[in-house]
Symmetry: C2
Subunit: 298 residues, 2 copies
């Protein structure tokens, strides 16, 4: 048995049918697989259907501004550093000398922002399908897009990342896939055909990395991704990070490489001094999976 909250600021904890009484005031809620995660909000800042999805932004009490796409939390000001540190820096430090990088998705800008911190990187192709997400991020998440438009290395290419990758040949050192869940808009980002295209788009020592859902409720999805990656790439691995706005709080990243073991750091050129989540020791440690995850992806 375990423990929880300090009682002082605790709202009346409650159960069952008392949910409505407990959640007085305004909250945003994501429901997922018979669970729901809610944040108390100050107000709703934005809600509009783009050409691709419903885009919403809330001002929350605990997580700053929070963006949801089609009702699913994507990013908040408070926790964005975890996701962006771990999606960008693990592959960029696993590669000895990343120069040409492709980011698919990541319309909020945070992943590109972290890639930009690697001074050796000379080009970043940034392919987001939904320009509205970037515009909303500029307005409500200024820290995520900071410096992006001023950095000449960043090439904005709004469009379909799947088509974009299909046309690329042995060009990239690192490809980061920062899409949403495997639904209509992003489902293709989890398939073998796309992974083959990514493999072809990478240089002979290239590395790809993508978010791959949570091991608590979606271990089958992760196993599928890992199985496909292992067939196509020489090396594949899985690592985890704590993301409090995603289902279960336990999130996975799938990484695959044409040459290098991705759990090792070998980039000595990117002399980044200060991270908020990533550390070189954590790079390796994040690959040490709990037994049930190891069993689940076998």
């Amino acid at each position: 048995m375990s423990k929880k909250p300090a009682p002082l600021s605790r709202l009346s904890c409650c159960g069952g049918e008392r949910i409505m009484a407990a959640l007085k005031g305004k909250w945003c809620t994501e429901t997922y697989r018979d669970t729901a995660l809610s944040f108390r909000i100050k107000k709703k800042l934005y809600a509009k259907k783009s050409g691709f999805q419903m885009v919403e932004v809330y001002e929350t009490e605990k997580h700053g501004n929070l963006m949801a796409l089609d009702g699913c939390y994507m990013v908040s000001e408070a926790e964005e550093f975890v996701y962006h540190d771990m999606l960008a820096h693990v592959p960029l430090f696993a590669h000895p000398n990343p120069r040409n990088v492709l980011v698919i998705g990541g319309g909020d800008g945070g992943t590109v922002r972290e890639v930009m911190r690697h001074k050796g990187v000379t080009n970043i192709d940034f392919v987001e399908i939904d320009p509205d997400v970037y515009e909303v991020s500029k307005r409500y998440f200024p820290a995520l897009v900071k410096g992006l438009e001023a950095d000449k290395r960043v090439k904005f290419k709004f469009g379909d990342g799947i088509k974009f990758v299909k046309a690329a040949r042995s060009e990239y050192d690192v490809i980061l896939i920062d899409g949403t869940d495997p639904s209509e808009i992003a489902g293709g980002l989890f398939g073998a055909e796309f992974f083959k295209d990514v493999h072809r788009a990478l240089k002979p020592d290239g590395i790809m990395c993508m978010q791959s859902e949570d091991p608590w409720y979606d271990l089958d999805i992760i196993k599928g991704v890992q199985t496909r990656l292992k067939k196509i790439f020489k090396k594949a691995g899985l690592y985890l990070a704590y993301i409090p706005i995603y289902p279960s709080g336990m999130w996975s990243f799938s990484i695959a490489s044409k040459r290098y073991a991705p759990s090792e750091t070998r980039n000595k050129k990117s002399k980044i001094k200060k991270f908020r989540y990533y550390t070189p020791a954590l790079h390796k440690a994040a690959f040490e999976l709990p037994q049930f995850v190891k069993d689940g992806i076998k």
Copy 2:
């Protein structure tokens, strides 16, 4: 930006004032520091005020039976192995030869069950303040209490763990503190006086371990615990585990030792073959903290 759910079984995701519409059906909810975590339930199985706290049990869709004390989730059938593996096995493998073990709290039985798996352990004093918690666990969480009453090493001592420790002198190899949050009933379990009593109750090479809240919303509590432990013990450390029913999903354990560095495994006698969460590699990896946690406990 990131991703979420596979859409098929997704309930209508929603935000703000639409929460009530989204959470149709019966749910249990814990609210904590402007966040709320809900699980869809089949039914409420039990709700009764014990001599110490409100004890509730729900049958949930995703987590099996789930116990809440004073409205805070304590343990569910689905995730209990994480907490119990990590609270019991990290200190019991950090110690070279644990024989006499004290468990304070842990009335659901799960921690004692994991301690019992160490064959070298010859005595387990089990001091839970609330006998109703154990009775409820026997009824609704049979896997947690399995074998406890048949194992002659287990000495049930229902009563106040703080008083119990005060009377002990250099007796224990390992003390596990499995209390609730630092509220009225368990607040004393986080204080310097209690830690001094624990220190005195341990043998000269003894190790203690306790749950110590989550780094997202309660980093100040963790820093306080770590600061106090470092003053009293020769070695102190912090490690993390993913617990999907606790706030943020990121949970911490504080461990302190009179002699040994707790991140190393040195117990060669406990030949346990199969874990569900713990692994020897994860033992060490769980101590590799994200940068914001390292900064926060400095």
